[in-house]
Every structure is written in C-alpha cells, then in structure tokens.
Amino acid sequence: MLLTALAILLGLLALSVPVAAALGMLGLALGEIFGTMPLHLALGDSFWQNGIEFLLMAIPMFILLGELLLRSGIAGRMYASLAQWLSWLPGGLMHSNIGSCAMFAATSGSSVATAATIGTVAMPEIKRHGYNERLFLGTIAAGGTLGILIPPSINLIIYGLLTNTSVPDLYLAGFIPGFMLAGLFMLTVLAFCLVFPKWGGVPIATSWEQRIKGLPYLIPPLLVFVVVVGTIYLGWATPTEAASLGVVFALILAVYYKSLSLAMLREAVEGTMKTTAMVMLIILAAIFLNFVLAFIGLTQQLTQFIEGLGLGPTNTLLVIIVFYLVLGCFMETLSMLITTAPLITPIVVALGFDPVWFGILLTVLLETALITPPVGVNLYVVQGIRTRGTLNDVIIGTLPFVGTMFVMLALLVLFPQIALWLPAAMR
C-alpha cells in the first residue's frame, strides 16, 4: 500500500503534474484502490470545512502585508539604513542582506516574500561594489528562509493548527534560534571573506552621522513587528487576528508614505490572490489526501513502521531528520509540512520530545528544504530576480549556508533549550 502510494505520487510529480492535482488525484486513486467506501464523496466537505478555517486566513494576510511593505518603499529604506551599520564587516553588504532578511522576517510570515523583497533591493549592489556574486546570492536565498523561523510565521501557525501546539509558545521558541541562525550565517560570510578577502568587495563609505540619520527608517518595520507579534502578548489578538492587524497597519504606513494608489492596491491584490489560491489549492488537496491515508490505515501503518524499527528516541529522531532532508530536496515546503506533520509529530512526541521544540526543528528543516536543489523555492526566487547567469551560481553560493543549517540543526538537537528557554522564561 505504501509503495503503491509512493509510486503514484512520484510518478505524477516526475511527469510534472501540478502539485495540487498530484496530491488530490493520489487521494482519489488510493480511495478507489484501497478504500472500501466511496471516499471521493467526502471531497466537497473536506474542501469546505478546511477552506473556511480561520487559521488559514494568516496565509493571504501575511502575503498581502509583504506586498504592501514592498510597494510603499519601507523595505528599501530599511535595507539602506542597515547597510550603514553592518557593511564595515569583512563581507560588507552581505551582512546587511542577512540582517535585513532577519528584520523583514520579523514582519513577514513567509520566506519567499522575505527573499523576494530583500533580493529586489539588494541585487543592484553586487556589481557596484565588486562582491563575489555567488556568495552574495547565497546570503539572500539563505537569509530569506528566516521568514518562517523568526515570528510571525505561517508555517508555525499551520504546525500549531495541525498538532494542537500553542502558537504563542512556538513564536517565542522561534525567536532565539532565528536570530542565532542569522548570526551563524554572518559568521559563515565572515569566515569566507577572511580566507578570501577579495570576495568581500569594496566597503561602502559611511559615517556616524549617516548611521544615526538612517535609524528612523528602522522604525516602520519595528512597528509592524509590534503590531503582528506584540499584540498577541498584550492579550489583544490571537496569532491569526494579528496578521489582519498587520495588513491594516501596512495600509496606514502606505498612506503616510504617500504611496497608496488604486494601481498599487490592484497590483498588491493580484499578487496576493495568485499566490494564495495556488497555495490553498495545494493545502486543501493535501488535507483530503491525509483523510484518505488515515482512512485506509496507511497513516497507522507508517507510524507502526517507524515505531517498529525499535531504534530508540535519538536514532529515530536522526532517521526523521534525514527523511526530511531528503524529502526537502524534492518537495515544496508547505505541502511537505501539511502532509507529514500530522503523521510524524505524534511519533516524536511519543518518544518523549517536546512538541514546541520539534516545531522549531521542523521549521529549520523546512528552511533547509527551501535552499536545497533541485526543488528549492528560494533558489528559484533569487535566480529569478537576477534574470541572468544560471541557477547553478545560486546553488553553489548557497551551499555553504546549507552547511550552516546543519550546524543549527545539530545545536538544536544537542541543546533543546535554545528553543525552549524563552517560552519557559515568559511563563
């Protein structure tokens, strides 16, 4: 049964069938082959009940928020300001790339939006300052992944929904690992640029006066962060509601910066709806597939298989990590999260691991998947912004940061407190 399922899925994906259709048809096919009941009849209810799930509202809201921030010029000004502060380091603007990604991540729930936004404002600088192009591209692709680890995060909301884990706890838990990973990325750049000083390019001119002058530009992103994360801890809003607050606040900022127009709104809306509908179709198809898998008993079979390996907690966890790293090479991250989290998390929790901690570990694994070829959405996004050269440049430039991710994974496994300290301290 498991082999049939895998064969159909890999076959459909290899034939380049749209992911949503592949997941949905797999569900229908397995229901026909192994279900003793007419499972396809449940398709409508499955789509409706999950399509109206308020928690999923966070997806369009965060995408819309990112669109509005990009179009009102806030992202660009933030980047220029951070550049004044970070570019004296060996590696120059590459540190600003990572810093800006981390900061934008604190306003956006999406990694793709983070990489695309920062990439757009950073890309023109490569030539101007003579950086090693590949490594520069790598900082954007990898830095962008921070979007789902540093709160707010669509992935953490969905993980919380699928596994009944507290989203505020997950947000707090993502904070330290998120900024720690940003720090590790910077260390990676530093190490390379100390060994190969030419890669670091020509430092940009700056002065303390300019630095101080630029500081006000960091205020709007900080305010957005306060609105989409702070209101949760103030007891004003739930995590999903907070995303809506962010959209309204971004509109106010756009008015303040005089960039609000009907044309701007129309573009933001078209971009948001396209991405949302595409992602929602995948999510709804994946949820229907989960229903069929649980119904025909495949879920239980898989769980029993992993438990039956009798490897003990640590080895099972390692198997799961390797499983995700391999899967992450071939699968889009949101569909990966939705299809696997409900199956894997109960196993991990039964082994005695903390569900909040595993949520963070899983998010770092998903971040890795975003930058591992051949299917790595952030690689595509960065190459796309660049529009010249080959994808290989981006892949090679990002590889060192994949190594950094492994270090982060190891640290999380060895020192779970990195994730768990803050939620416990805030109790």
Binding site: L13, A14, L15, S16, V17, P18, V19, A20, A21, G24, M25, L41, L43, G44, D45, F47, W48, I52, E53, F54, L56, M61, L64, E67, L70, V112, A116, T120, L234, G235, W236, A237, T240, E241, S244, L245, V248, R266, E267, A268, V269, E270, G271, T272, M273, K274, T276, A277, M278, I282, A285, F330, E332, P374, V375, Y380, V381, Q383, G384, T387
Partner: protein, 209 residues
C-alpha cells in the same frame, strides 16, 4: 472561437481576483475592528472569525481560475526541463488533464455540499446561525468558473497537440520560465505585461520555450 472564450475567461477571472482582494481587505478591517473593540471595551462584535472564514473560502475559489490562466500552479520540473519541446508539450497537456479531472471532482462534490445545505436551509451552529447555503453559493460560483476555464483550456490544448503546435501549448499550459516566476513574485512587470499578454495570445505564441 476557443481563443476568444479564453480571453473572456481571463477578463472575468481578473475581476474575480479583484473582488477576492476586496474581500481580504474587508476581512482585515473587520477583524481589526473586532480586536480594537474587544481590547478597549471588552465587548465583541462576534463572528468576525466565522465571516473571515467564509470570505477566505470564497476569495480563494474565485482566484483558482486566474492561477490556471496565468499558469501559477506549482509543478516539479526537475525532469521536465531535460525533455525536448514536444515531449514537454505532451506533459503540459497531461498535467492539465489531471488538474481538470481533480478540479471537476471538487466542483461536483462542492455542488453536492451546497445543494444539501440549501435543501435543509442548514445553519452554522455558532451564535451567528449563518445559513450555510449563502456563502456556499458564492464558493461554488468560483469553482464553476475554475471548471469552465479548465475545460476550455484543456480543449484548446488538445487541439493544439493534434496540430503539433507546441508553442500554443506552452503558452496555455507550459511550466513557467524563471523570468515569469519572478515577475510574478515581484509584480514588477504586472502593469506592463497585461497588454503584452493579450497581444501574444492573438499572435502565434511567445518564443520563450
């Protein structure tokens, strides 16, 4: 004839997307209002989560057609890119066929859900007591637009396949090139691209394959 129909569907689907976007903004303002009222007065308007949920379902179903017509649906193209143009065209049609089958199945069952709710005038069990047939009606409308688009685009692609017209298939159902992916991601070229796309529809097809 089919090409004209596709153009009409594109126009309709674009309006549907704008309407969906308006629903999102409406939901954002409604939720914000509820949060502010609750935080300051302790009262709740109630039901903003429920209404938002309906708006989410409706706005996404209304945007499905647009994603199809703009070929936004994600495909794994690791192998695809290794193939020649004619094999790619065949895979494009196959992918479209599978998507059509799934889309029609969803629409068919969604109609079932709507008809059931309407026949009992079923209400949500929340304090709002929403008659479910109302949001479900608009939800089904979006799915019908999606289904119509699927059928028309599939028909046109099958005809093109029979005519060995790989360019048209690429234009209707091909995997997106990196350049397009990014235009999408950034919308830098949205305003420019709109008339351009219309032109290329009328012409013999774009040459980005």
């Amino acid at each position: 004839m089919l090409d004209v129909l596709i153009q009409r569907l594109e126009t309709v689907s674009r309006y549907a997307v704008w309407a969906g976007g308006a629903m999102l903004f409406f939901a954002a303002f409604m939720v914000t209002g509820d949060v502010l009222v609750r935080a300051t007065t302790g009262r709740s308007m109630g039901g903003s989560d429920e209404i938002s949920g309906y708006l989410l379902a409706i706005s996404t179903s209304w945007a499905f057609a647009h994603t199809l017509l703009n070929r936004v649906n994600v495909r794994v193209d690791a192998l695809y890119l290794l193939f020649g143009r004619s094999l790619q065209a065949a895979l494009d049609v196959l992918g479209l066929l599978v998507l059509t089958a799934f889309g029609l199945a969803v629409t068919w069952r969604a109609i079932g859900v709507f008809v059931y709710s309407a026949s009992y005038w079923a209400k949500s069990i929340t304090p709002m007591q929403t008659p479910l047939a109302i949001p479900q009606f608009f939800w089904v409308l979006g799915l019908l637009l999606f289904s119509a688009s699927l059928i028309v685009v599939l028909l046109r692609s099958v005809i093109a396949l029979a005519q060995r017209d790989a360019a048209t298939i690429g234009r209707l159902a091909g995997a997106r090139t990196l350049r397009e992916e990014v235009e999408e991601e950034l919308h830098i070229s949205d305003s420019r691209a709109e008339p351009g796309r219309g032109d290329s529809r009328a012409g013999p097809g774009r040459s980005d394959g």
